[in-house]
Subunit: 495 residues, 2 copies
């Protein structure tokens, strides 16, 4: 009798626990969300038919024979992820082109029909087990190959998805996250998101599910809210419900990110998952030409920006046509992990306190705009979308600080002129600032604490070997190839 | 009786110890030299009448009233040295202009006659005691102010020097080093170097003494031997005897620096003391305009290059017209010390093993020269004076390595076009290389281990998060504003 009661209690407990992993009105994260926040840092892997065509997107017509990695090595991908301190791997299982990285019963547009039949989903999921990482999948709603997608009966394609997701959720062990993409091609209610959600949660209640462009400005409308605007609770609405977290690839949140979002009059808690490329270009599927990777300073600050405040980051580290992550790319991820002291099981490191956020700021010159959108105050508004732009090349921006606040780090994000390359996704960025200095003001005197005669890169982190207090801080451009523009200057107190 | 014998023994011991600190034929360092090598890293301080005229040299005619620091703070200089991990301070007491930083009985061209009468030699020597650093002095032989200098009887000016050095060596506690400069203005035997040496050693046998341009190609001739050539023992000769160490401001030794030098048929051991500026320009006396400081990577590699192999480095960190070292300059020295883990009493850190030195190297293109002086083999000849120069902007240089040798660091010194500024000493340097990569060759395959789309600075240090073995290494320039040129590529195994 006692045994039965215990068993019943355990079952009720499990049910409660499962319930606790479904999206429900709440002011704090549920179990699935807490797990997700704790994971925090994942490696995104774009790999598929596009890799072999040097394109980001394709329309489902690239012949399956094009997929032919010469040295396919998913173990190397996950080994790299482990060495770099990632806690999970997020694998593209099917992109908009419809090509599947596993041998699906429901299509022939997959690895099973290609020259290299390795089940990549299986290989990655097993390597994750081997190296102690969790496994997550990306799956595109939008499918430009699958015939049922074009059927007037939208449920037919939903069934196709449910069948494929059943394959994915029953054959590859535990999956911690499902990242759905491409929702813009149909009306939000035509994707069967609720059916997908229920199916996934049936197999794995702990799996966190979301659809890209999760949040909109008005209930039932299509205009997604950008993460840079998400500074108020209970102001914005779900576009896709249920979703366990917010996505807006590849935008960044503000420093004042809020977590409460509305659906049918109820408020739900939603963390944000960022997506960035390790590439210095917008380069998701690896290209044949070698492209440079981002500098460590920028990666470090983007890591902190993305993972602080109970949010997450997935960084794309894609394999090339040989089927391996390029060594210089892998090394950059590993160097970042070493710099940050990342390892599985250890809490993620946090950035220091931003003592400059929202302090009054003014610039020596401002590019005119009727809404004053380029004003100096953009540099510490906590928003990486807004920026200060000067009219002169020799220009400065000055902000007040509280002299009681110590600081020992200054991170500066420079805006670059960008030029899209013919592939439509890659881009080059042209820096403007060539020489610059940082001054602080105390007791009636300006003091220069940093001076540099080399370009600053995309993000410059100035680490001061001692702490300072100041009533003002000034960023001064002494040489530039064009009027300078900055997204953000972060004055930080690192403990 | 026993007491007397003990006392006698102590006196003989002291005499022996004192003898052991004088320059004598030897194959290894004497006590004074061992102390010097152990110190290893000093802060050079240029300060004086020139500071107030924005010049490097002056002719002794600048009025003494021009010397007027507004916030003279020698304690800050030495505190900075302590915080930066320097072990000694080398102070300019008198430069070629003859202006003395102490109130000398023998001249009125000194601080005593100026508006700010602080005895700077005293203040610095006392701060050194306070902060636990050793104290060293620079004294110019050449004197463009002192009237006795022009006397036909050269001994008159020698006496002036002996008098001043007596002041310096009797009033300011222990002095660990005497750096003599300006010898080019007279014949070597007209300076009374032997008298100076005897005087100094009488007061302080442990003081290491040297004259700039210590070594020449032929005995009795004036042509100084550059440190980059000093790769053979017992080949070169003293110009100034005795000297306890070698000087050749501001040249760098080779990686194959030798220590045995000849005088009158005898061989003497001589370590080398390097002099570099923390400034990114050749900037000894601080100038009114703010000039940038060298990057940490370059400072780190120059530190290792200078202090490895039982040699020494003094780095110039000069105060400005306020009488304080500028904060951004001080911070750079402190950051270097933190990066290297320097602190007084701790042995200096060493660079790793150079596995690339003298390995066969060849370039894709070489700027033509009848002596082939710009060949690819210059990049690993251990000499920072020689350089590879290409004819094309897209160019590479490739070297053999021993696959048995591991490495995890690559340091690259780029040659820059330089332009002297009107002051005759400051200069600007123009980089050429804008994008580059490092490849290694193994098992018939090239693998890119580093790729960069930003300019490399004066010295780029690529730290690899794991060790590699390779049969070849290639440095590949993918974008440059002019045909690239490199002094050195150092492939290093850091433990």
């Amino acid at each position: 009798m006692m045994k039965r009661i215990l068993l019943l209690g355990a079952l009720v407990g499990m049910l409660n626990y499962c319930q606790a992993q479904l999206q429900q009105p709440a002011q704090k994260p549920n179990a699935a969300q807490r797990d997700m926040i704790k994971r925090g840092y994942g490696m995104f892997i774009h790999f598929g038919i596009n890799t072999f065509a040097d394109v980001e997107w394709s329309d489902g017509s690239i012949p399956v024979e094009k997929y032919h990695p010469t040295h396919l090595d998913p173990d190397q991908w996950v080994r790299t992820a482990r060495d770099a301190g990632f806690r999970y791997v997020l694998l593209i299982t099917k992109h908009h082109d419809g090509f599947c990285l596993w041998d699906s019963k429901y299509t022939t547009y997959d690895v099973g029909a290609s020259p290299v039949k390795t089940d990549v989903v299986k290989a990655v999921s097993e390597a994750c087990k081997k190296y102690g990482l969790q496994f997550a999948i990306y799956y595109s709603l939008w499918d430009r190959h699958e015939p049922s997608y074009k059927d007037q009966d939208k449920q037919k394609y939903v069934n196709y998805m449910l069948n494929q997701l059943t394959e994915l959720f029953t054959n590859y062990g535990s999956i911690c996250e499902l990242w759905l993409d491409g929702g813009w091609d149909r009306k939000p209610d035509e994707w069967g998101v609720d059916q997908v959600y229920q199916l996934v949660k049936k197999f794995n209640p702990a799996c966190a599910v979301s659809v890209n462009h999760t949040i909109v400005n008005e209930e039932g409308k299509r205009q997604p809210t950008v993460p840079g605007e998400m500074t108020a609770d209970n102001k914005y609405y779900f576009q896709y419900f249920p979703s366990d977290f917010r996505l807006w690839d590849p935008k960044m949140i503000t420093r004042f990110d809020k977590k409460q979002y509305l659906h049918k009059g109820q408020s739900y808690y939603l963390p944000f998952e960022h997506t960035i490329c390790i590439s210095d270009r917008l380069n998701w599927f690896e290209k044949s030409p070698q492209l440079p990777v981002r500098e460590l300073d920028e990666l470090e600050e983007l890591f902190y920006w993305s993972t602080d405040n109970d949010n997450c980051l997935v960084m794309n580290v894609p394999p090339d046509q040989t089927g391996r992550i390029r060594e210089y790319t892998a090394l950059r991820a590993i160097s970042l992990g070493k710099r940050l002291g990342l390892s599985i099981g250890k809490p993620l490191p946090k950035n220091g306190r931003f003592i400059s956020a929202l302090k009054p700021a003014a610039a020596s010159s401002v590019y005119p705009d009727k809404n004053n959108k380029y004003s100096g105050s953009a540099v510490n508004d906590g928003n990486l979308d807004s920026r200060w732009a000067a009219t002169d090349t020799i220009a400065s921006v000055e902000m007040d600080l509280n002299p009681a606040d110590a600081f020992n780090k200054v991170s500066i994000f420079e805006y670059k002129d960008t030029k899209e390359l013919p592939d439509g996704f890659s881009q080059i960025r042209l820096p403007r600032i060539q020489e610059y200095a940082i001054d602080i003001f105390n007791n009636g005197e300006w003091q220069t604490i940093y001076m540099e005669s080399k370009p600053m890169g995309d993000c410059k982190v100035v680490r001061l070997p001692r702490s300072y207090h100041a009533s003002k801080l000034r960023f001064r451009v002494t040489k530039a190839s064009a009027p300078p523009s900055l997204y953000e200057i972060c004055v930080i107190d690192m403990k």
